[in-house]
Amino acid sequence: MPEPALVASHLGKVYPTARGGKPALTDLSLEVPNGRVYGLIGRNGAGKTTFVRIAATQLAPTSGDLRVLGRDIRREMPEIRKRIACVPQESRPLYFLNTEEVVYLYLKMRGMDPVEARRRTRDAMEELSLTEYRKRLVARLSGGLRRRTLCAMVLASDAEVLFLDEPTTGLDPIARREVWEAVRRTIREHRTIVLTTHYLDEAEALSSRLALIERGELKLEGSPEELRARVRYPYRVLIQDPFPAADLAPYGRVTPVEGGHLVFAREADARELARVALERGARVSMGPVDLEDIFLEVVGRSIEEDGSSETEIET
């Protein structure tokens, strides 16, 4: 069995503050398998970026251990850095370069042979539909194109583990899909991608495993199917016509929605409720819970709710 790309054991991070320190990660243990996309999901300030920054050797951990590609994050940083690449959250390319230069010079900066760097630049620009913008200055690009350029930059590299921190923020739906395709192609090259995202559809579409982080703690970890299996109510039933809420309560957790109710239930209860509702002539749809539902059940809040004020530190 191949060695995991990342192994975190009881990892902790406390940011120094005037009042003695603010914890951002607490006792976090997880394994990121090799050659897959691993999604980190959580609200703003949950600790996702702190984890990525530690793993990308940009930030020192306070406690615990982390091994990247079998190397210790404290003692073997130079070895790790040769094999990783990162698009940090809120990063922007240098505004006076054109898009082609951003990718090409990044590869050369990593020490890549110029001929190889040219070839990889051309391929990455094509993959992310950036060829028509290759001579355009970054300063004149939209925010979405700038993010795409940064993605092209690290995807073109020869790094074995790529850290993409909120890579598709600000992209339109088509551009997001292009980044997804590029990510999938990268995985076919047996590289590992650690992805943090606010978009739960993106996390589910790309990740083979997911970690749900809240207030610096790992709340849930596994494949999307495993996550569904671990929640109390793995199915959702949407009843769109007026239906007495009291009649729904025995089946599971009831949430009022516009024009009806959403019921989270176990599989057998969900089937039974759907049957009863159809018999009464209500419009019904039923299916497994999605990541948003799982998130809501585990955290008790929507992923859209900002959690950074609770940690007081941008993490």
Binding site: A56, P78, M109, R110, G111
Partner: protein
């Protein structure tokens, strides 16, 4: 990384932060020339031409110091606004390569401004082998000092606007009070003492002496070189201790 990879990486920083910005926005070059030429003009008018030679030598020193000011802004901007330093940290590039590459890139960026002063230097008939060696040596030390100062200060800045606040203070401490544009004897006694705390005083004395503007005893010349080198080494050591590649 092999030595070849390191060299390629270093030259890439020179290209992306020194050569490409000149191509993209040549007007920046005028900006770099503005301060030294303004001082030169001011000195020329006030002294009715008598101190023009001091102005030329001072302009060279000031241009090299401006490299540090530019580096300080770039480092802060790249680190905090663009997160470029984070991109570089998570790559095979080693910290000394980034440091040297960025410092060299600023030097390349300032070469056109230096060239203007070199032209005046040659036109004035000062370009003997000895003079060129002394002036080049002093300017390299001023550049190293300015870069080390930039790396140390950039560690503390959280926003590029902070660098704009500090630049006038640095300019006051390194180019206005120290006798960069005039002989040290023009200063009152207290200011002469204060000027001894600035490395630019020693740099200015050496370049002024090299072209015969002031007469320095041999012992003073040796002292100036030693103090200037000590400033550079001290600040480089401080930068090495304080500058952070990985955040704690």
């Amino acid at each position: 990384m092999t030595e070849r990879h390191r060299l390629r990486s270093l030259l890439t920083f020179v290209q992306l932060n020194g050569i490409i910005p000149i191509r993209t926005q040549p007007l920046f070059l005028l900006n770099l020339l503005a301060s030294p030429l303004s001082f030169l003009f001011f000195i020329f008018i006030v002294s009715r031409g008598a101190l023009i030679q001091y102005g030329v030598m001072g302009g060279m020193v000031l241009t090299m110091l401006s490299v540090g000011t530019g580096l300080q802004s770039d480092l802060t901007h790249y680190r905090h606004d663009l997160k470029f330093q984070d991109v570089v940290v998570a790559s095979p590039v080693e910290a000394p390569i980034y440091v040297a590459g960025m410092a060299l890139s600023e030097l390349v960026y300032s070469l056109p401004a230096i060239a203007v002063f070199v032209l005046i230097f040659v036109a004035a008939g000062w370009a003997t082998v000895t003079n060129v060696l002394v002036v080049a040596g002093v300017l390299v030390l001023v550049w190293a000092f300015a870069c080390a100062l930039a790396f140390t200060l950039a560690t503390y800045f959280q926003d590029v606007r902070e660098t704009f606040l500090f630049s006038p203070l640095i300019s006051l401490g390194l180019t206005v009070i120290p006798p960069v544009y005039y002989p040290i004897t023009y200063l009152p006694a207290w200011a002469q003492t204060a000027a001894l705390f600035s490395p630019t005083t020693y740099a200015a004395e050496l370049v002024q002496a090299s072209v015969g503007l002031v007469a320095l005893p041999f012992a003073t010349e040796v002292r100036d070189w030693i103090v200037l080198v000590a400033f550079v080494v001290g600040l480089l050591l401080l930068a090495a201790v304080k500058a952070r590649w990985q955040e704690p």
